[in-house]
């Protein structure tokens, strides 16, 4: 479904990605792991169209999308829960969800999707009139996920959804992702919290200094000595 080949990216003169490749097949949950600064977010920004890649191709459902602006990439069916949640601080919970269904193709089923989002996240319904800035970190993360689902994506990308959250809340976020998975969503998950998430992944890639250095099924990587040393501190 998603095919990233030989991706090179840079910020100004500073190169970050050096020919990274990965793929996600329909129905899979694929995890991308790597330490801080490895280039995971940069890769996601290239896929979602927020950053122009220097070289390489990105294919989604058979079409090349590497030169599309971000708003067209969403329209094609890739929704992203960005790193740091990226709220609109003085907009209400409900306004976030309405923006999630801003695309013309998602507007016709807006009411249905809104009630589905509130079913999935009852907490958001309680807070629907509240401004995002007043929500807790966990609630903001739930809102970011719900907002992304409002566009009826085929592929959901989550960039470090557990970042900065209390351990209890992290558990909730991962359970939510597992639930969304059960609904049949294809997922690309970026995480550093590999212990809790690799078990749930069909396949995983390890990104190091802008290159994919290791790939395999989730349990293979969980058993890999290098991964255990680097990310599980075992």
């Amino acid at each position: 479904m998603l095919e990233v080949r030989d991706l090179h990216a840079a910020y100004g003169d500073a190169p970050v990605l050096f020919g990274a490749s990965l793929s996600v097949k329909e129905g899979e949950i694929v995890e991308l792991v790597g330490s801080n600064g490895a280039g995971k977010t940069t890769l996601i920004r290239c896929v979602t169209g927020l950053l122009r890649r220097r070289r390489g191709t990105i294919e989604f459902k058979g079409d090349r999308i590497e030169t599309h602006p971000a708003h067209e990439v969403v329209d094609r069916g890739i929704a992203c829960v960005p790193e740091g949640r990226q709220m609109f601080p003085s907009m209400s919970v409900e306004e976030h969800l309405l923006l999630g269904s801003y695309l013309r193709r998602a507007r016709s089923r807006r009411a249905e999707n809104l009630s589905r989002a509130y079913e999935l996240f009852p907490r958001l319904k309680e807070r629907r009139r509240q401004e995002a800035a007043t929500l807790s970190g966990g609630e903001q993360q739930m809102l970011a996920i719900a907002r992304a689902l409002m566009s009826e994506p085929r592929l959901l990308i989550l960039d470090e959804p557990s970042l900065g959250l209390a351990p209890v809340v992290v558990g909730q976020v991962f359970r939510t992702i597992a639930e969304i998975r059960k609904l049949g969503m294809t997922i690309l998950l970026v995480e550093q919290n590999v212990q809790k998430t690799l078990r749930m992944a069909d396949r995983a890639y390890v990104l190091e200094s802008g290159r994919v250095t290791l790939t395999g099924t989730g349990s293979e990587l969980l058993g890999n000595d290098l991964v255990r040393k680097a990310y599980l501190a075992l």
Binding site: L50, Q86, F88, S90, L99, Y102
Partner: protein
């Protein structure tokens, strides 16, 4: 000044202040979304005044009716300037953008000079000097009409910003541009639309002030300054703040002039502005969100 005189002065300050608010809202909206201070804002307003003036001279079109022409013309002019002059340099250093808007302002005021000459002009309508009495207070009819139209325009803008997809997209783009793109918002288009809307507000305010003011090619400079004062008073980027800032500026100017210093009318606004900056640099109603 006796009590009635004071009420009278404050009331006419409020009426003018409403129109100032409209100019300020345009500047604030543009700043909120694009992070550009439009130094040509008052010059666009002068263009609005001259269009209304020319339509009145040539076709006896009532200035208020000329809004039907000025509003779409303003949107097209604003969108054109954004697309052709501002968008290509939007990632350049801040001073380039400042120079660009200053340059646009110079071109506008000099074009007006070329077309209309330097004489102050004014229009005279049947209601130009008419007043209505509300109790002991008398108010100028053109200012009342202008104020009413301002209220309608601003209320309409609020409805658009809070109730429509375009409005939510504009606010989202102002608060977190990348996140807005990720929801499918074409933020390039939003910027063009916002600059267009901001210019419509400025040019419409010019039309609304025409019955009460002399118009000359450099009248815009004063209003760029006033718009700037209004938005800084209210907090850069805040629309509600611009409303209060506009009203405050109108009242301060009017009361200052009423105290017998008519010639220093504009200076009173600037003094208030400096005082506010000294005491509350974030503006009186500070919040930087559209």
């Amino acid at each position: 000044m006796d009590l009635i005189g004071f009420v009278q002065t404050v009331a006419s300050g409020v009426l003018t202040g409403g129109v100032y608010a409209m100019v300020g809202i345009g500047l604030s909206l543009i700043f909120g979304v694009m992070r550009i201070v439009n130094f040509a804002h008052g010059e666009f307003m002068a263009v609005g005044m001259y269009i209304a003036f020319a339509l009145f001279r040539s076709f006896h079109l009532d200035p208020y009716l000329s809004l039907v022409v000025v509003a779409p013309a303003g949107f097209l002019l604003g969108a054109f300037v954004e697309r052709v002059l501002l968008a290509p340099i939007q990632n350049a250093a801040e001073h380039s953008l400042i120079l660009m808007t200053v340059g646009v302002g110079l071109i506008l005021s000099n074009s007006l000079l070329l077309i209309f000459g330097a004489h102050p002009e004014t229009i005279y309508t049947s209601y130009s000097t008419r007043t209505v009495a509300i109790g002991p207070v008398t108010l100028s009819v053109p200012l009342l009409v202008s104020f009413a139209l301002t209220v309608i325009v601003v209320a309409g803008l609020f409805l658009v910003l809070t109730r429509t997809d375009l409005g939510r997209a504009i606010r989202a783009a102002a608060q977190n541009r990348d996140a807005a793109e990720l929801q499918g918002v074409d933020t390039r288009f939003v910027q063009t639309a916002v600059f267009g809307i901001g210019i419509v507000l400025s040019m419409a305010a010019g039309v609304l002030l025409l019955p009460a003011l002399y118009v000359f090619p450099t009248v815009g400079g004063i209003f760029t300054l006033k718009a700037f004062v209004v938005t800084v008073l209210g907090g850069m980027g805040s629309i509600v703040g611009a409303i209060w800032g506009g009203l405050l500026l109108g009242i301060v100017e009017s009361v200052g002039a009423g105290l017998g210093a008519t010639g220093y009318r504009d200076a009173f606004g600037l003094i208030a502005f400096l005082l506010v900056l000294l005491v509350r640099p974030q503006g009186l109603f500070g919040s930087s969100h559209v």
